[in-house]
Symmetry: C2
Subunit: 336 residues, 2 copies
């Protein structure tokens, strides 16, 4: 299969490195596996015979590449059916989903499979995109879009096939979990913990997307739609952030063996809010870790813990990509 | 497909109830799905057209059934190819694996798929049975054999397809975790906690299989073989149990924000021993919960927490059964 990487930021570059390292595995599943192109917002490189992955994984900007065509757009390559799968990893935009939404719509409408860690298009148009994928007999996989390296969607799809998920709750934002963990362990106030997170590059200069719970709300929308058959939009989520959590409130909680965590919940209602979590509960993880707690009819309670962002997300993207290859070739990478 | 249930103890009965509840899902994947037989150690019931699942799920002993044939053995049904899949749920026997080992060998050698939560045959003959399955183009799935409802094997197979698991550690025995949790929270000694667990039916009258780490060692062998390509036997595991953990040792650990847990490890060496675990580590779960911590090359660290035994194990057995049906029909139960 011919793969096109759309977006060459941090995740795109990390993915290129992982593809280089795992090439023999990928070729074993699909002997015709090749990365034919890579695009950023200002141009692309393309080769029908496949790019040199060693070269691609060694550059930090596509424009460094000798074959970079400036002023060109990924949509040209998609429109001309010059690929079989796109990995859409442009920046998340929850206002209008662009440019990811256009890329994904176009690809699916042309029968091109999509793997994406991009939340924007999924938050805005989940049902539309899933219908489009089904209509065109395409895979649309998005494991990396929620809780990074925690394989929540493939787990529900492949490992809990007989279970019905009744309720879901989770710590889905590493930035706020880092801030709240510092407040819990160091007994410092919100503003100081936030400033520290900003200095470490864990929080943005404008932190509202994280600390006001918007990012968590986006993830709750995707989880509700993907795992529990909802048709939720961002406005369906009752949301409050962590700015109001004081040092005193955290200390009081701690004295009673609780921590305050920003928890997203998919139940009858969709909600994001700070909640008391018993420190011995599996969901009570610290630092930048994420955790998802599922309640199902058969397995009872299952909790998954892992990194919610960073280069570990490549695990999720690669798993999706291999799923697309397997769905078409029937070959499995692992046999014990 | 024609399903034969072999073993009708606690798990067999719980599975019959789950099959009744999920019948419409199962029929959707395989329109010819039917439970044709159920066997215990003293006889069986069989009907080529399929047993009445409502009736089967309502009885506590097979011998209550009007069609029960006493003095007959499951091997007769397997030998005459009267089923396409067996669910082997006879009691675990780690001495010689019987009767499960005979059932599984016979089924696989005749091209009959096997789903089993039975550790014994897997501990004793993992490589032999996997080769037999491959040679005969059969599925041999055993999700329920380790950590009950935690879907560790399907997770590794389906959700971490591009990852290499480098190291694994886990709390894999609910009985010892219950005892150690009581010692940690109530500050009581081992003997008192053990007695309490025995009174609650959580520990056996002869607790050595659990408290001496034998059960955990069996699970470590299966995990090492299934997930990390080893060819380990039970004697390859360095093992020490929890009898030597004193109230004082646990109190000291607790004062430094650690708990003592019985941890199984698959690293270069295979080991089962009590270890200090920071109370804030995701692996530090309490009560009868199990937890598995994976270290992989891409995802970094992933922890799964869930019930290690009890009726929740039916989730794992059902997932395996659906995987067999899907592998043959190509149909998936869930589409978002």
């Amino acid at each position: 299969m011919r793969i096109l990487l759309v977006g060459f930021g941090f995740l795109g570059r990390e993915l290129a490195k992982a593809l280089r390292n795992k090439m023999s595995l990928l070729i074993r599943i699909d002997s015709d596996f090749r990365v034919v192109g890579a695009a950023d917002s200002k141009g692309y490189i393309y080769s029908e015979d496949g790019l040199n992955i060693e070269r691609l994984s060694g550059i930090t900007k596509l424009s460094e590449h000798e074959d970079y065509k400036s002023g060109r757009e990924a949509v040209e390559l998609i429109n001309r059916d010059l690929c079989d799968v796109i990995v859409e990893a442009t920046p998340t935009n929850i206002k209008n989903g662009e440019p990811g939404l256009t890329h994904i719509r176009l690809a699916l409408s042309r029968g091109i499979h999509v793997v994406t860690p991009n939340k924007g298009p999924l938050v805005l148009a989940f049902r539309e995109l899933m219908s489009l994928a089904e209509k065109n007999n395409c895979d649309l996989l998005y494991e990396g879009a929620v809780a990074g390296a925690i394989p929540i969607f493939s787990l529900a799809r492949e490992c809990l096939q007989g279970d019905k998920i009744i309720r879901l709750s989770g710590i889905l934002n590493g930035t706020t979990n880092y801030i709240l963990s510092r407040m819990f362990f160091e007994e410092i106030g919100f503003e100081i913990a936030l400033k520290e997170a900003q200095e470490k590059g864990i929080a943005e200069r404008d932190p509202s997307y994280d600390v006001d719970g918007i990012d968590t709300a986006c993830k709750i929308v995707i989880l509700a739609n993907a795992l529990m058959g909802r048709d939720a939009k961002i406005n369906d989520v009752e949301r409050s952030g962590i700015r109001g959590i004081t040092q005193e409130a955290m200390s009081l909680a701690k004295k009673s063996n609780y921590a305050i965590k920003l928890i997203g919940v998919v139940d009858k209602r969709l909600e994001v809010s700070p909640k008391l979590v018993p420190i011995n509960h599996p969901l009570c993880v610290h630092g930048t870790l994420n955790a998802i707690h599922l309640e199902t009819d058969l397995a009872g309670e299952i909790t998954l813990v892992g990194y919610g962002a960073g280069k570990e997300t490549v695990s999720a993207i690669l798993n999706d990509l291999i799923t697309v290859l397997r769905n078409r070739s029937g070959k499995s990478p692992k046999k014990s």
